[in-house]
Symmetry: C2
Subunit: 411 residues, 2 copies
């Protein structure tokens, strides 16, 4: 079987450390399966509407380009937070997208993204089906939040987890270097609603590391009084206390902990409340109530951008997901997202499949009950067993003049 | 020539990514030069007073131990912030230190630290000289702040600089992935008085990176109005603006920028006075005056603890400084600190020497005028030429179960 026509691949939403590996996977499979051109859309569907396309041959025809792209953080093609409106009343936008596809003889669009981006794939494939258009649309999962349903996990998550666990091991070692008065550190970890990445803080614990002293996921209601009591209990017996807290922890009344002192009305374009500062807020509360000062560490963007310490397992799976998307389209599928199905844990084995996008778009997968300890302050061994394979192995950066080298778009 | 008696090595002050490489250097040279025992003092001079010693043979006799120690962040021996009082009126403390040395037949003490720790070396060597005691005291430099005088640079700085530059490249790439509305990031970098590490942000710029848009060192008075104007100017022409600011930047009246709100009637969004860092304060000011929201990134402890991305040049020099300290003592020197003397830039060549501790202890070396651009917002090519050799090469972590492995003290 061979592909007919050209392919376009786009990136959408917040980048991950390995989102570019999926572009590499799309390109490699596309070329192998006979696509004449593999285009990249610059800044996602928003750029596509403006015909802002580039020919990936210019960057990836040599193996060197692929190797550098796999080690490049952020979205090589540029990304967007554009939300495609519903077709009703916006037919012009949809027709414009299909017109660009026809103009460039593009039969297949691969869109790499998270929940919101999968909505774009769903709407475009539904529109094509409803209007008898032959173009195919396939979603490639990507999110450090790991909250897409159906798939066992999401490309990008394993590398973020590896960065978090590596950094926490270093932070804990640093904090343990002193004796005497308790040093409290609160580490704020990304994840607006789901606590997958915060849970990865549990990976730091091992033969050479005592691990974090507590982990607070957004799946459990955050009890400020219990938190303060926990700090006091830990401070009474340990000189180093390191705690991982999700940016998205919520109070019993539904407000984010970061809104403890005031209501926030800030929302982003998707209607999400902007969350930042759960740990800064908690540090303030703890100091007022106990006198214990906390150091707040918020790795922020580095959680999704630290490709220099990416998981090779994650890079390989991101690449495989991109390739699988091309194959799925070639086999006639549209309106699907590529999923990662874990076949076995020991040895770890994971296969790709394709799943109906309607069961995925706009839905979020939370950390299940059995992954969180009874007291809500730690993760279970079952969660650790789930996490461990995802952070294995490394792809060393290509260093140039002392720093990791990246592939860049020419203007 | 051969060493007589035993050696003790201690770590003091804030750790660096390579402070353990100096312990490895002391141990290796000590053993090579005939020391029967190389002791480590646990938690610095404070632990030494309590006879809290360990025999480094237990950890480092096998080459594997040395290799792991070189890759271990924070102070393997534990550290302290204990300031040795002046001898007058505290002779008991001094006599206790010499008594412990005699008990363990220790003829040489190597103390790894920054400005304050060098004061300890100075006072102990002065006391020995004044009281006719034969023991020798040698300081080994260590500080990510790079602010010790005489030495060209300090072990620990190169790795922190490599971490900052690597992280900034990743942050800038992430921030440039979007188009449209300006995204402003303020990165707060360690260094309370000297701007060496903040200056290392300039290393991010290269063929594959546009670099940071401005750099603010504490060597220049911080002008809030000029800063806000600079942000507005950058925001008008760029969708990604990334700025590096030292935690230690100061206003014309001598207050830290982080104290900007302390003397004014301004309060933060929560209605209380801001007690955050310099960047959180600046983000608040910029938002009030321009409406532009900033994301603040403070790598915090990771700047000194991220051994996983350490500079091999730095590791090698930290090791060499430790070894040189032992040799200096064997040659009869005391009351000296080991310095790194840059012999040439191309090829980079650096040698160790020993220098009178009285010219070093308690003094700070600031970034010189010619390393800062005229407008005070960037570093010069001369500064870059100084920095570049220090971040070269890598020593890959030894990964175990997906994470960098560290050497730990047994209880």
């Amino acid at each position: 079987m061979q592909l007919t026509g050209n392919i376009v691949v786009g990136q959408s939403g917040g980048p991950t450390a390995v989102i570019n590996a999926s572009v590499a996977g799309v390109y490699s499979a596309g070329k192998e399966l006979g696509a004449a051109k593999v285009y990249g859309m610059v800044n996602g569907i928003q750029g596509f509407l403006k015909e802002n396309l580039l020919d990936l041959d210019e960057y990836l025809a040599e193996e060197e380009g692929i190797e550098l792209l796999k080690r490049t953080p952020a979205a090589f093609l540029g990304t967007c937070r554009y939300k495609l409106p519903v077709p009703e009343g916006h037919e012009d936008i949809y027709e414009q997208i299909f017109a660009v596809m026809e103009k460039y003889e593009i039969t297949t669009m691969l869109y790499i993204g998270g929940n919101d981006s999968m909505d774009t794939v769903k709407m475009l494939s539904d529109y094509a089906a409803a209007h008898g258009k032959p173009q195919r649309f396939v979603g490639i999962p990507k999110t450090i939040d790991n909250d897409l349903p159906v798939t066992d996990h999401c490309p990008g998550f394993g590398s973020a987890a590896k960065y978090i666990a590596t950094s926490l091991k270093e932070i804990i070692r640093d904090n343990e270097a002193y004796e005497g008065k308790t040093k409290l550190i609160l580490v704020e970890i990304m994840g607006r609603h789901a606590g997958w990445l915060t849970g990865a803080a549990g990976l730091a614990k091992g033969e050479d590391c005592t691990g974090v002293d507590a982990i607070y996921l957004p799946e459990r209601v955050f009890d400020v009084d219990a938190f303060v009591a926990k700090i006091e209990e830990l401070a009474a017996k340990k000189s180093s206390v390191v705690i991982a807290v999700s940016e998205g922890v919520k109070l019993a009344d539904g407000r984010f902990v970061s809104e403890f002192f005031a209501e926030s009305t800030d929302v982003d374009v998707f209607g999400h409340k902007q969350v930042a500062g759960s740990c800064a807020t908690l540090a303030d509360i703890v100091e007022r109530r106990t006198g214990i000062k906390a150091r707040v560490i918020e790795p922020s963007l580095l959680q999704r951008a630290a490709t220099h310490i990416a998981s090779l397992t994650d890079i390989d799976e991101a690449f495989a997901a991109g390739s699988a998307g091309v194959k799925a389209a070639m086999e006639g599928l549209s309106g699907v997202m590529i999923t990662l199905n874990r076949v076995s844990d020991a040895p770890y084995k994971c296969e790709t499949a394709a799943y109906d996008i309607h069961a995925i778009a706009n839905l979020e997968k939370m950390v299940p009950e059995q992954f969180i300890s009874k007291d809500g302050c730690q993760i279970t061994d079952e969660f650790l067993a789930y996490l461990r394979p995802l952070i294995q192995s490394e792809l060393y950066p290509i260093f140039k003049d002392g720093l990791p080298a990246h592939l860049v778009r020419r203007k």
